[in-house]
């Protein structure tokens, strides 16, 4: 079924199906819900404005995931540059953003630890793990979104999990 992104009915259909997915992608790359919301809004406005045509709902989803992923990574890079230069000026006590509740939801210790561990992964591992675990894409789809080979995806997933395991062991998290 062809999807025209500038068509209101098609837009709503894609929005309802894809927003939760891209919100997760944006959040688990930036770990800031407000930033993630802005990024998703930006992506959906571009999606609607460009009035593109996609062969299927999935293709529209992959386009949105790619845009959101790029925006989120850019945000993280910018943030890192800023904090690197800021750190030289003042070294204050670091607050753990994964423990103070951006929402009223009180995070479980293990949730906070996992989010922290994912956020600390190198970018190439973080993106595959986010697309795999939070966007629910398979290796072929991840390869398509990241424009890398499937065997490359396989290797990165493996290395990402290895790093996560090491980090979580260090944090002494009781994984359920």
């Amino acid at each position: 079924m062809e999807i025209r992104s500038g068509d209101e009915i098609a837009f709503r259909q894609v929005y309802n199906a894809v927003f939760p997915v891209v919100m997760k992608v944006a959040y688990h790359v930036t770990y800031n819900q407000d930033v993630a919301e802005d990024i998703c809004q930006d992506a959906f406005i571009r999606f609607y404005d460009k009035d593109m045509s996609f062969p299927s709902l999935d293709d529209a989803k992959f386009w949105l995931i790619r845009v959101v992923k790029n925006l989120a990574i850019n945000h993280v890079k910018k943030k890192m540059r800023e904090s690197a230069s800021l750190e030289k000026v003042m070294r204050g006590p670091q607050v753990n953003p994964f423990k103070d509740g951006a929402s009223e939801l009180i995070l479980k210790e293990s949730t906070a630890a996992v989010r922290k561990a994912v956020s600390e992964l190198p970018e190439i591992y973080k993106t595959v793990i986010v697309l795999r675990e939070y966007a629910g894409l398979n290796y072929k789809e991840i390869a398509g979104v990241l424009k890398i080979s499937e065997s490359n995806v396989k290797v990165r997933v493996h290395r990402a999990r290895k790093e996560l395991e090491a980090k979580l062991d260090r944090e002494e998290v009781n994984v359920p």
């Binding site: 919100m23 996560l164 359920p176």
Partner: protein, 247 residues
Amino acid sequence: MCLDDQILNTYLDNELTEPWKSQVEEHLSYCPSCRTRYQNLLKIRSAVQAAALTDEEIQPRQDRVLSMIEKNYLSKNKGKKSFLKRTFKLSAPQLIGVAAAFVVVFVGSWAVFGNNGSSDGTILLPDVNTTIDLNNITQTRSSDNNTTSKSLENYTTEEILKNLDARGYDVDIRLKSIQPLSLDRIGSEVKVIAVVEDKGITITSDGLARDAEGTIVATGVILDDQNRIVASDGTVIFTADETKVVE
């Protein structure tokens, strides 16, 4: 030979194809150490997945972004369409009425302009301030237009105004000096050619004299070859002593 982590991860993600998938399953069935390792990897994966942003956290943001897009994009488009539709729904007599109103205003302004465009550089311009909507448009037959435009010259400005006023137009006519284009609008073409420092007056190459506040105090002035500021009728406004020429 035991299974390495990468194979187990691939199997875990259900990305392993036959015949390797069956081979892994067979191996796991009898190798306790690989089974333990596999259980561990499963735990890590479920811990990671359990840390996902929850639906409760997503929903309010999903609603908020949608309503923002609805307001600024989806409904905006809809508004455009209905506006066009409304325009085309005007019936022929209504359109003629609107056209006639413009003809009256245009011809009227031409007549006033033509009669009064005066030599001292001032122009009388009618300033028609009326909202044209269906309530204040009088329907006029096209044959009326001809007689109106022909006879318009025979009326005085006052009569035209009275007539327009009687028809419900809110007409405002003001005497204005020609408004020169401002310096920045003309750009490099207009230059300051002289200043009268005592009075704070600036003369520009477009023949305008402005006071310190930028208000135009005289038009059509020139700087003559004796460095005097001369008005259009030849009277000397400022002598060479008072004038400082800007190169």
